[in-house]
């Protein structure tokens, strides 16, 4: 068994820092966008957002009042000892709530009863992913805003509706973005899950935008091309930061793929607000750590 010597204090500190900053890759894309933005109101909005991140880091306050919903990706190899993370992550979320870094926003889905401390059934959501042969343990936690969720779409497309050169899929994405307007807190990130059945496409969509660097390029040229084309065309729509006009509507399009059945093409379009709160750590057996998208402040 590989013991990575993870402590509760280490987990608590990771969750705390996640709340008071955004992922460095997302911040870098925003800074670039703010320079290029031609709409004065849009530019001012982007600059305000970047400054808000700086202030949050300086004052040790949450970047956004809405804490989103937490999902944790645990990617482990053979013989990995996950230690206390399954217990400590929910515990750290509760402690950060008590300290004012997370607004208590977790409720029963029907009665709407608020637990008061961010605890609840299935919170955080854990996605355990076995990676045969992987030496390190990778933990990525993402607190994704829920206003953005209001713009999401799951649809079962077919060979006919996909269209030639996937124009049906591309149009669906653009129309969903246009319909969402300012609702998902643009500039947005978009995760698109394609394949499997409906549940698979939904999981892939969240995983793509939550676990990939927002500046990376997909290894499959077909998918890389699709991501690039969609990003450019979404930004040509003119919705802009906060949805009040401008060139910067979308910061990243990330596609997750799985094979599917010959009759269907499930697609989920998953919106992420600009507040990309997440942390990623690779824990190595020798006790060292590698940090992914270190929080930008």
């Amino acid at each position: 068994m590989e013991n990575f010597r993870i402590t509760y204090d280490e987990i608590l500190s990771l969750v705390h820092n996640m709340c008071t900053g955004i992922s460095a890759d997302a911040l870098a894309v925003m800074r670039q966008a703010a320079q290029a933005e031609s709409n004065p109101a849009g530019k001012a909005m982007l600059e305000a957002m970047i400054d808000n991140v700086r202030q949050a880091g300086q004052l040790d306050k949450p970047v956004c009042q809405s804490p989103g919903f937490p999902t944790v990706y645990v990617r482990f190899g053979d013989g990995a000892d996950l230690g206390g993370i399954t217990k400590w992550l929910p515990q750290a979320v509760v402690e950060c709530t008590k300290r004012g870094y997370i607004r208590p926003s977790i409720v029963h889905p029907l009665t709407r009863q608020n637990s008061g401390d961010s605890s609840g059934i299935g919170v955080p959501n854990f996605e355990y992913q076995y990676r045969p042969g992987q030496q390190y343990l990778e933990v990525i936690m993402s607190a994704k805003g829920c206003g953005a969720e209001l713009a999401n779409l799951s649809i079962i497309m077919t060979p006919a509706t996909l269209g030639s050169n996937y124009v049906g899929l591309k149009k669906t994405v653009l129309e969903t973005v246009a319909k969402g307007g300012g609702i998902p807190c643009p500039p947005i990130g978009i995760g698109i899950g394609i394949g499997g059945q409906m549940d698979v496409s939904a999981k892939l969509s969240r995983e793509a935008i939550s676990t990939r660097d927002w500046r990376d390029q997909h290894s499959d040229p077909l998918i890389a091309g699709l991501e690039k084309e969609l990003l450019a065309n979404i930004n040509a729509l003119g919705l802009g930061p906060a949805g009040i006009g401008g060139d910067t509507t979308c910061l990243a399009v990330k596609i997750g793929l799985a094979s599917t059945h010959t009759a269907i093409c499930p697609v989920t379009i998953n919106f992420h607000c600009w507040v990309a709160r997440r942390f990623g750590v690779r824990f190595y057996p020798d006790g060292s750590r590698e940090y992914l998208f270190r929080e930008g402040k």
Binding site: L59, C64, G116, G181, G243
Partner: protein, 194 residues
């Protein structure tokens, strides 16, 4: 595009002067209200009972803050807008209550635009996710109602000073910046993909 510093409550004439794209800062009382507070208000209105606060000429903020309980009451940690469209089903009621300024993000839809024209109301867009900046404009938190619905869903009374900036995105004349942009985007999609 003008900049306005308004003291709440405001009257019809002040609201009618606000144009799409104008910047607004507020001083006075602002009340937060999201899904559950709107339902609580509706219950009282349906029963013909008075509301705990006077919203006439007032401002409601679609928002749920992070608050810290202190010995003297509540301390504002951060506050920012929530997605307004969830409150669209209450458009008529909010109009009839004579609320004048509705602050949020992402805008409202056609029932609200109709109410805005009839009751002289405007929608103010706050910078989404800029919760630290906005909190700087809150001077005091004098009261809270319906806290049993949880911190985000309670109605918080906020005493604010130079609170903002907000941008006018829906006015009293039937204009919506969101609708304009969506129509333009639809045209572009047609041009790109047919």
């Amino acid at each position: 595009m003008a900049a306005h510093s308004l003291t709440v409550p405001v009257d019809d004439r002040q609201v009618e002067q606000l144009q799409i794209g104008d910047t607004v800062y507020l001083t006075g009382m602002v009340y937060t209200a999201r899904d559950m507070a709107h339902l609580e208000i509706r219950k009282l209105v349906d029963k013909g009972e008075p509301l705990p606060v006077d919203l006439k000429g007032g401002a409601i903020f679609h928002a749920g803050p992070v608050m810290r309980k202190t010995a003297d009451g509540w301390e504002m940690v951060v506050i920012g807008p929530t997605t307004s469209i969830r409150m669209e089903p209450h458009a008529r009621m909010v109009g009839e209550l004579n609320v004048k300024l509705i602050i949020g993000k992402g805008g409202l839809a056609k029932d609200s635009l109709a109410a805005f024209a009839k009751h002289k109301q405007v929608y103010l867009q706050a910078a989404p996710g800029c919760a630290v900046q906005l909190a700087a404009g809150v001077r005091k938190v004098p009261d809270v109602y319906w806290l049993e619905n949880g911190m985000p869903e309670a109605m918080w009374a906020l005493a604010v000073e130079k609170f903002g900036p907000f941008i006018v995105t829906m006015d009293t004349k039937g204009n919506s910046r969101y609708d304009e942009l969506k129509a333009a985007a639809a045209e572009k999609i047609k041009a790109i993909y047919g």
